[in-house]
Symmetry: D2
Subunit: 257 residues, 4 copies
């Protein structure tokens, strides 16, 4: 529902008649993104039909500003589908990142063993599940030993502002690999359907760097205060307004106490 | 975005394969409404472009689960448009309802005088506003004595579940007349675009009556426990399932301690 | 944070000076509950520290208007704790309620077998989990075959209005037994800390009955329109205001087209 | 409700046993803030009783993740209280910021005239309001020509994460002066009650600078890649972890394509 043009339409109502003369749509969208004027992005709405393992679903559902209808293991028999990682994605625990896996793959043999064991266990658990059901045990109880790797599915509806927030967190290298893969596909869909907004999201959020107060003190002495000319900066892709904003940031750093 | 069919689609994913044989769409939607299974209704999304007086906007905005982009009196000059009630809508303070107006109209003369005075005041205030602006006073300050009857406008986006909640509160006789008029028009739009869901909303929420525990004790002795036959109830419009639910309610009352 | 008195305090700001003379606190709280004036109930806030199986956590988290911090299986090793039902709670699939278990217990032998098998499987799965960890496989991967019966824990913070909504859904007989047991304990805590509000919740929501439009048509002919006297109704526990509301409901039914 | 210690308590449940040895509370809170792990901050809750002019209330209420009970002009007579700016705060429209006032004060004479006219108008409008009420016109109608400068009051309850978001937007120089003054007082209260979290908010959000992708290209050539030593950076106030993060940022810029 909606696209880049809905963002512009919503923003124009805020700025009303006063902005008739103002810059064209692209600049407006980029201005909104840059200055965290988030409400116009809420006017675009996406709905996805997604199949995903339960351990991914549990991370995903933490994004509360969304609408969800999930497959119910109380109403229906859970299907015989489980997630198994590829051998190259089986990694050791990261030393630096307490919550993730490292970049080093595990010895191939161990990885293969692990995967085979996952699959055998999943088959065993599904067999037991079926067996419980055949003994008339209620579905809501029979399923409680199914593993977190079991696939579920849902409809997920979310507005673009909250979707960007989801993408920012879930495209991040510290997010679990499996949810990152979903985030990448969703990012691709947004890129195709709201190309201007997505580009702005990449430029001002995904590929931005934020320096804290103390870091700015250090940076202050590392910067040579020789700026490119105004024209050079325009050529590099900044708008006039952004050049002014850049000046402001640099002089803020220069004067940082 | 979406309609009755999106509600069904979302509900079917929850019930999964287990409900393939179940009742058709209408019954499913009515079942969901009756049992407060609200999430499938969140899959339908409405967006409205609305012009409304500020005192109405202030009540409206209390519905938080919605997206809003409003005209800004900081960016733009407020237009010269104000709400004035019709003479027949000018009423005295209600004696029974502390927050509303009564059903009795006020003497015609007083009503007309009131309306004329409102208009004259609005003209005066707008003139002053213009005068402040002409003296270069910032728009965000110049506007602070504009009245609550000034018109603003906004885009308002909300899902159907939350829209029904809005309608339930704002169609209610104790809601202020002016917002009720907006609610009626929105209700009409929903009725045309999601006819089955709207009918269910009318039958199970708008035109329902809820009895509290103590009221049930009284009702218990007022009911003659001679029910119509099953067939008669089906003819009156209940489904089989609803007849069973009705029996359950009546016997719950009959056995109320 | 807060209690019955915070509800009153918040409501009084809405009614402002105009209600100085109005009824005492209990009546005010009951009036708010009866008429769905929900915002004062949002001024009371509860925080719980809860240990619960993952399949319960997945239902619980669907209540989005709450704050949650959950134990993370990416950061930390999952503890060796799993849910197992009592023999008397192992039931067959309900025939009437597609999503639940029936009232009939399963033959004792089958129930015991089921429970024993659950436990053995849980032990096996935890052993495998430990084994994966010992091979340096990242925690976020090693856990994916842990079962939905694994215990997790979280802090859960929610306001009283949304907590009542949680309780209404999760105390309901169609809610899964395991989450109902948590809801009962929470209900007990609310009862002790906000006794007036909880009583109102019981009287006007938990123990209320709602009749739909079609049901009202049937009820219309079942009611003998001989009401108790005003005094009798006061004695039964209605306030004056509620007696008037009751009259309105009955005459609404009587005149139902 | 709660303070710095509640943030730590909530975060520790996520990291579970795995972090027993980890850094002390201050570092943990600062780490959470730096990496946008926002949910532990939601465990602290603030409630304020605030008197504010309606035009400020209309900006304030846009923060939807909060609980509000406002004085009602339908139930109660609006009090005779109106906002008037100080002469030094009366400014011209900003040339650069379309939504705000400039830094240049307006000629003193015009400012004083403006203020006097505001007051006279407010008196006139309140007199008319009283007159309407004396003619028995319903309060909800009598008030519609009261100005946006009329004071209202409310209870406002919000968690610390959302409060920081409010502060970030409303302490910003482009926020309207009048709401900024409220934000400053609230910031002071937070600083006193959650000193560690507030300091982290200042260091990592309020006083941070974010560079976009294009800006990083420019910055890349302005930076001399001679960093202070590790020890110097610790002395300046970075933790070990932050020094590593700073290296990563600088090398990210250095390698920016």
């Amino acid at each position: 529902m909606g696209g880049d043009e809905s963002i512009v339409q919503a923003a124009r109502v805020s700025y009303g008649r006063g902005t008739k003369t103002v810059s064209e749509d692209r600049n407006l969208i980029r201005y909104l993104m840059r200055h965290c004027h988030t409400s116009p992005f809420e006017m675009v709405e996406y709905k996805f039909h997604i199949k995903l393992p339960i351990f991914v679903a549990r991370q995903w559902i933490r994004h509360r500003t969304a609408n969800v209808n999930e497959y119910s293991g109380r109403y229906s028999v859970m299907p015989d589908e489980f997630y198994v990682p590829s051998p190259e994605d089986v990694r050791t625990q990261s030393k630096t990142n307490k919550q993730g896996r490292s970049d080093e793959p595990i010895p191939e043999e161990i990885a293969n063993e692990f995967i085979q064991d996952l699959q055998e266990t999943q088959n065993l658990l599904y067999e037991k599940y079926n067996n419980y059901l055949s003994k008339e045990i209620a579905r809501e109880l029979a399923r409680i030993n199914l593993p977190l790797s079991t696939y579920t599915e849902w409809y997920w509806k979310i507005d673009l502002h909250n979707l960007f927030h989801f993408l920012e967190l879930r495209l991040h290298p510290t997010a679990q690999y499996e949810i990152r893969e979903y985030a990448k596909i969703i990012a691709q869909i947004v890129k195709e359907t709201c190309p201007i907004a997505y580009q702005a999201f990449e430029d001002y959020r995904l590929n931005s760097v934020t320096f804290s107060a103390v870091e700015l003190k250090i940076l202050k002495n590392m910067i040579q205060y020789k700026l490119p000319t105004f024209e050079e900066m325009l050529e590099m892709g900044l708008t006039k307004r952004e050049v002014e904003e850049f000046f402001t940031k640099i002089s803020f750093i220069n004067n940082f106490k």
